[in-house]
């Protein structure tokens, strides 16, 4: 070690660079420990994320398939008559077909129990087929319909056959019937497209997310169309044009604070202003979108201002120097350069809005609606509120559907975040 305190006397003592002292070793160890802590921190976070996703997947994966039964149905003209369509004894026709496959079931006393193998929606599948083509009456047709939730759970192994009979939704005889159908090759477990294409239903085997997805789409569209232009307009004004004084400081603090205001307070505001004052319809995605826009706006404003700030002043000076007006500078040079940052902020803001629950509860977007909204003014749910509803439904099938819906929501979030990251990486500029 060179030591200047004795450099005056005998000149610095020369030490080899490879010579390693205890002190050096200690310093190196400290370095490694710090790195170890860093890696530990990251692993902790990753582990939690992994547990979170794993626990969702482990309960939710079964909802991505659905047990179906394929039946040969004789459309008995005695039960289904063309004149009476769309009404008719579809249920009976289906039951008859099932019974024909279950010799040990008594057609009289077991009819109800056998019928319960099929989803309540099965009759409507058949009805819709026949309404579309009444010439099928009197023929034998092959139709694939979902089975009801208890049997779906049975097929997915969620029912422990060893539990005492009284503690199961399905008794031993019913299990026997189902197994008979299964051995006959009539049971299949295909991918559950219904999860995406069906609207909500009280029957788990029929319930899907279409209504929620459509509602979320309308709400996010409204949210985007309102918060994006207004947010950018406000940000540009505040960052580039507004005089810098106490007032603008105050406004900045307030906007930052808006981003931290609990979302439920926005719900409160929406309830008071949009529903009670303006008389906008309850449960409408449009109102949901407006509410979310209020929440997203501060995020967009903050991101936009940051992006504008990041554009180096030299660009502004250059443009001003050749005689461009302030607005020409901003709209011609600064804004295009800031756009990637703005878009990233917007996507992240929308992703937040996508997962927001509390304010939507207050404006009634947690309703049970069996059809998808056709306009933003129709009542609808959104993904998070749909999760909320499903989470509180008694049927066993909804437990896995809740997890599945959360996974779908997470999928969208990852998609949106991925988009933001892509934009950021693609357009990230260094000056």
């Amino acid at each position: 070690m060179a030591d200047i305190t004795n450099s005056g006397t005998g000149g610095p003592r020369k030490s080899s660079l490879t010579e390693s002292s205890a002190k050096i070793a200690k310093r190196k160890r400290a370095d490694l420990i710090l790195q170890g802590f860093g890696i530990g921190a990251i692993l902790t976070a990753f582990t939690v994320l992994f547990i979170l996703v794993a626990s969702l997947v482990s309960t939710g994966y079964t909802a991505f398939v659905q047990t179906h039964v394929t039946l040969q149905v004789f459309v008995d003209p005695a039960e289904v008559a063309e004149e009476r369509l769309p009404r008719g004894g579809f249920q009976e026709v289906l039951t008859a077909s099932l019974l024909s496959n279950l010799p040990d079931a008594d057609p009289e006393s077991d009819a109800r129990a056998v019928r319960n193998i099929l989803s309540n929606g099965a009759q409507f599948y058949l009805r819709d087929r026949i309404v579309a083509n009444p010439s099928l009456i009197g023929q034998t047709i092959s139709i694939t319909v979902p089975v009801s939730d208890p049997f779906d759970q049975l097929n997915k192994g969620n029912v422990d056959r060893a539990t005492p009979e009284a503690q199961r939704r399905v008794n031993d005889r019913e299990i026997g019937w189902f197994d008979a159908l299964d051995t006959a090759g009539m049971i299949a477990t295909p991918l559950n497209w219904g999860l995406i294409t069906n609207a909500d239903s009280r029957f788990p085997e029929l319930a899907g997310l279409r209504g929620a997805l459509v509602g979320t789409f309308w709400a996010l569209l409204t949210c985007f169309l309102i918060s994006f232009p207004i947010g950018i307009g406000a940000a540009i004004y505040l960052e580039e044009f507004a005089p810098k004084n106490k007032l603008s400081d105050f406004i900045e603090v307030n906007i930052n604070n808006l981003a931290a205001v609990p979302s439920v307070v926005f719900g409160l505001l929406a309830l008071a202003v949009f529903l009670n004052w303006f008389g906008l319809p309850r449960s409408a995605p449009f109102v949901g979108g407006l509410t979310l826009a209020l929440m997203t706006m501060p995020t967009i404003i903050i991101a936009t201002r940051a992006a504008l700030k990041a554009v180096p002043p030299s660009i502004r000076e250059a443009a001003l120097g050749v005689g461009a007006s302030k607005q020409q500078v901003v709209f011609g040079h600064v804004l295009p350069l800031a756009m990637p940052g703005i878009l990233t902020g917007t996507i992240i803001g929308l992703a937040q809005a996508l997962g927001e629950t509390a304010p939507l509860l207050l404006i009634g977007m947690n309703a049970f609606i069996t059809s998808a909204a056709s306009s933003p003014f129709d009542a609808s749910t959104a993904l998070p509120t749909q999760i909320f509803i499903w989470a509180d439904s008694p049927e066993r099938g909804f437990v896995s559907r809740t997890s599945a819906a959360i996974l779908v929501l997470l999928g969208f979030l990852v998609l949106m975040n991925g988009m933001a990251i892509y934009l950021r990486n693609k357009f990230e500029r260094r000056w």
């Binding site: 710090l34 603090v253 931290a260 989470a391 990852v414 949106m416």
Partner: protein, 458 residues
Amino acid sequence: MTLLAFMILAALAVSGFLLNRSAALAIQAGGTRTHSLAYFHGLYALLSVLVPVFVVICVYLVLKTPVINGMVIGGLPDGVLDDMSAGQVDLVLATIQSITRGQTFGTPPDWQLAAAERLTSLYAGADLLMVVVVAALSAVILFFVRRQVAAEFRARQAAERIVHGLMVACSLVAILTTVGIVFALVYEAYRFFEMVPVMDFLFGTRWEPQIPIRADQVAAVGAFGWLPVILGTVVIGTVAMLIATPIGLLTAIYLNEFAPKSVRAVVKPVLEILSGVPTVVYGFFAILVVAPALRGTGADLGIAVSSNTALAAGGVMGIMLIPFISSFADDALTAVPRSLRDGSLALGATRGETMLKVLFPAAIPGIVGGILLAVSRAIGETMIVVMAAGLIARMTINPLDSVTTVTVQIVTLLIGDTAFDNPKTLAAFALGLMLFILTLGINILALRIVRKYREIYD
């Protein structure tokens, strides 16, 4: 019809643009230099038409239904509305509207049929009128704007004034949102404080808001001291910050200084997923996975852990905040000029020493600002605590106990019951106001700190 109106507006605005631009170009072709570019003459025309007429259409859309309804109701024969309440009149109107849609119940009286016809014709007439007004108004504006085209006309300034106005309007929306929130909170909180003394609220140590919802309901007597509630918030927030801060900072330090590029490229976005997970999902996670695990561990160790332990809610909230803090700290560290890092390394410091003794201290103001913002997030976070924290307020700082938070109370007091006239509901607004003031204070502090640190390096 509305679509038609918008299309007419768009068409006229665009033609105004073209018209004025070509007029300006004509002047230039004549050899005169115009003050503003032809483009700005066009833009001025476009905006002059677009902005006011757009506002007119919007106002029309808002007013159409109430005005027409009023006209139909006003035009009903004398006597049919006698003694009717506003709601009943509303129902009559609904009946008439049903008739216009072809839905009738039995045989409606003639006056209803007549009113339905009138309603239909009024709607058609109003839409027609609106289209005509839009077209006419646009044309008139176009005419006047066209006459303004002249060599010395400052079209750029004029157009920029309009754009400026639009931007100010946008800012006003953001400000009005704040004003709206503050007004709603203050107004309702004021009503609350008329029923419950401010001092009782601020310094009371009992929070039992379950006073009767209805006159004949029996429940707990009300007590509105917010201290146990804010204490619960503090406990959960502290737990959250104790988890998020070290993990977040260490993550940032590692990613900023030590991690290979490829690791960083993967870790950062994956971490950001943590902050994107909907909080309701975290709520499920806290109550169904974390709380039982903690309880189980506690039982093994012989420690009593409440099943709504603050540790579960706070811990999960801390996880959510990790990316928030790590990205803020990462930014702050990155903002420390490279020259400082080089300076330290050149003195023979290791990377760890450089990080801990130079970069980190230099970034502290930015990091503290970020942590403060995370704190305001933590105290405003709702869904996690709604699901995972308790409902009963207790004066305790034991994180193994169940505590409640301000946001939990707001939600439980409000969801389900919307009678805005008893202190139970109004208390939510008082709590909301306190929360608003609290986060505002934290934000002001954070802004100050972040500002100060910017000044050093800019």
